[in-house]
Amino acid sequence: MDTERKQLIKSQIRDGMIAGVPIAVGYLPIALAYGVLAKQSGMTLAELTGMSLFVYAGASQFMGANMIGLGVSAAEIIVATFVLNLRHFIMSLSFINQIKRYRMRWKFPLALGLTDETFSVASIFHKQVDNKYGYYFYGTLMLTSYLSWVLGSLLGGVLGDIIPAVLSQSMGVALYAMFIGLLIPSIKKYHRIAVISIVAMLVNYILSPVIGQGWGIVAGTIIGGLAGVFVLEEERI
């Protein structure tokens, strides 16, 4: 009985790691770039790694490091971070609804590990909730991504600008490609999902020049999701 339990947990951990690899691969170059930028804007190695460890939000960290370099006030940086990360409230609401039946001691740390990327992968693997010990799957997924982000930042701070710019720029497409790679199989299975994504893209495209990038993504996600209320059929999701 006990060995069977261990086997089940082990296979969840393995699956979580496999699901986390594309995120880890995508995070590495971005974390490296962040480390390099943060170092250039005058942060110490401890500070830039600490930011990854405690803040763990890519776009905000780029912005934060940049603003620190420019000498912007703490209050402004913190408010801008708040605005940029409000979208995680909606993502967390959606994800926690998915794992509603888990106990608080799992829900809480899993919610802490949410990023755009872990949220996307965890949502695509929503069937995993039904597996026994599925929380180990989500936990490993989050931890793999987190470690890649923190270690990548540290590496970026150490290496400085040894990495050729062409390569790091090319690697910047990695996360976009991953998002596409997650989305397409769902659309293939159920074409109507495309309507949701396209509405979200258009809303973001139209609104982000006016209200800023962070709010544009928030608006696109909310309104695209509302389109889903109309196009999705109950029995297909």
Binding site: S60, Q61, I78, T81, A174, N204, G220, T221, G224
Partner: protein, 97 residues
């Protein structure tokens, strides 16, 4: 001073993420809202990809679009996601050098 900024940033990042676990048990979502929450991932994926993908090479937005098209085609052909990611990176690399 930088540590004050880091702690402040950490707090405002953590708060939106951890409120939902404390409230979902106490609210019963109406049917449409459940549907909305299930549609959120697909909406978020859309909003995260576009128009952001055009900034991969900021002065040449078409490069991001081409790499995106490569990713769409390969994903459609059931190519594994890691290869989709690597192929897009290669596409941008080839188009920039």
């Amino acid at each position: 001073m930088i540590w004050v900024i880091i702690i402040g940033m950490a707090l405002v990042t953590i708060i939106p993420r951890i409120i939902p676990p404390f409230i979902v048990d106490y609210i019963r979502f109406p049917k449409w809202m459940n549907k909305w929450l299930q549609a959120i991932p697909y909406a978020a994926l859309g909003a995260l990809v576009f128009p952001g993908i055009m900034t991969v090479v900021p002065e040449k937005p078409y490069i991001g679009l081409i790499a995106g098209a490569v990713a769409i085609i390969l994903a459609w052909l059931r190519v594994h996601i890691i290869l989709v990611v690597l192929s897009s990176i290669m596409t941008v690399l080839v188009l920039t050098i």
